[in-house]
């Protein structure tokens, strides 16, 4: 990937779209600092303590041998703070309240992803990095999940950078969209909602989804 350049201000949300293997997760890893760019620089103003990350394989950010209810205790150590009330609200909104005593390994993939989403979003971060955060969630709960993320980001004046393949996620959450092709020397395209008419339609056409 080359010629990648974008700025994201506090309160802006960026969706990264592109085919498999086009480097979407790599962009998140560059921002996380676990990969170094071969050229150029990545500047993240938020400190490590203010960045929350939800990996594509959500199971790797959970502790499957523990119960659902233990996770807010562990995520409660998030250095910039953790809001227990937010976690409880998320659990209610996602219909997970009856699962608090269940071991995580016994939950379905969608329930595990929603548990992680609840835990991550309850961390008081200024930047949320999310790699396909709704990929395992059923349609019924997905709307609630996106709405919850949207409200939380707005309340904290935080930003989210998320990878997705779904135009619905983009439409409801993103103020900017970065479309990567995975083809060397093809410049990734950045679209801003405020500068593009029929934002969703345009993105759908350009991204081919």
């Amino acid at each position: 990937m080359s010629h990648l350049s974008f700025d994201l201000m506090a309160g802006e949300n960026l969706a990264i779209l592109g085919p498999n293997g086009s480097g979407k997760t790599t962009i998140l890893n560059l921002i996380r600092g676990i990969k170094e760019p071969s050229r150029g620089t990545v500047r993240v103003q938020a400190s490590d303590e203010e960045v929350a990350h939800m990996p594509q394989d959500y199971r790797l950010a959970l502790f499957p041998w523990l119960t659902f209810g233990t996770h807010p205790i562990l995520y409660g150590n998030f250095p910039n703070g953790f809001d227990d009330e937010t976690f409880d609200e998320a659990v209610e909104a996602f219909g997970l309240a009856g699962l608090r005593n269940q071991p995580v390994y016994s939950l379905s993939g969608g329930e595990q992803q929603l548990l992680l989403l609840s835990s991550i979003m309850s961390c008081r971060a200024s930047l949320y990095l999310m790699d396909e955060p709704f990929s395992a969630v059923d349609i019924k709960r997905k709307g609630a999940a996106i709405e919850f993320v949207h409200d939380r980001i707005r309340d904290l004046s935080a930003s989210v950078i998320f990878v997705t393949h779904n135009i619905q996620d983009v439409g409801l959450l993103a103020s900017k969209v970065l479309i990567v092709s995975g083809v060397p020397d093809v410049v990734p395209q950045l679209y801003e909602r405020q500068n593009v008419e029929n934002f969703e339609e345009t993105i759908r056409d350009v991204a081919g989804i």
């Binding site: 929350a52 990350h53 990996p55 790797l60 950010a61 041998w65 523990l66 233990t70 998030f78």
Partner: protein, 240 residues
């Protein structure tokens, strides 16, 4: 090197071995020897667990220890434990503790190494999560590290149990013993009781198999509780 044709007197038929096996279930037969070996193996295993677990954990958690102590650990584990039998004889004398110590030495290294390898193969993404949410101290040990180490820890435990049994039997052969399967094997060898010799070997194997089976069952149960994925099921070979 040339092939040597073994004398037919060195072999026993399966029926002869089967007839010799029941001797080991009678209290006035070989049951005492079987119990003595099992007892020493159990103590050697417990000692290995007590020494090897904290040692392995300390090495794994200390980057400096891991780097600077790697040579010492590699050297120790490369020493054939049977070569230590005379040394342990000198240090601990002829009593039971010599036999237990030989088994415990190898067993504790197997457990320590399994913990160190387990740490090295911890999932990087989950480790980054634990770092990012500042999981520290006992919370990190009990909620994250120990559960994630469970599979490799049990591999180490099973290897250690096998090593303890092997070395206790070897020690019983060479360190003056009044009982034990190792002594029985040597006695049968000197008295040309070939079916009895094979029967003792079969009983030794059976004891090792049962120990491993028990540990595999425990590992399977704990693993199922930890992650929902069973890894116990079969009796593994030690690889040591």
């Amino acid at each position: 090197m040339r092939w040597v044709q073994a004398s037919p007197a060195a072999f026993a038929t399966p029926s002869e071995i089967l007839i010799a096996l029941p001797w080991f279930v009678f209290p006035n037969g070989g049951l005492g020897d079987l119990a003595a070996t099992a007892h020493r193996t159990g103590w050697a295993f417990l000692l290995a667990l007590t020494i090897g677990s904290p040692f392995g954990f300390a090495v794994a958690k200390s980057r400096r220890f891991r780097v600077e102590g790697a040579f010492v650990l590699d050297f120790l584990r490369s020493i054939p434990a049977t070569a230590l039998v005379p040394l342990f004889l000198v240090i601990f004398g002829l009593d039971d503790f010599s036999k237990i110590a030989v088994g415990a030495f190898s067993g504790s290294l197997a457990i320590a190494i399994s913990i160190i390898i387990g740490f090295e193969s911890l999932n990087q993404e989950r480790m980054r999560t634990a770092d990012r949410i500042h999981l520290r101290g006992l919370q990190r040990v009990f909620y994250y590290e120990l559960p994630e180490l469970t599979p490799s820890f049990f591999v180490g435990l099973r290897a250690a149990a096998s090593l303890c049994l092997i070395l206790v039997i070897v020690a019983e052969m060479f360190i003056g013993s009044e009982d034990g399967l190792g002594k029985v094997i040597m006695d049968r060898r000197y008295s040309d009781n070939v079916p009895g010799l094979y029967a003792a070997i079969v009983i030794s194997g059976l004891l090792g198999y049962l120990i491993n089976l028990a540990l595999a069952a425990v590992a399977g149960r704990i693993s199922a509780r930890m992650s929902g994925a069973r890894f116990g099921g079969t009796v593994a070979t030690t690889g040591f």
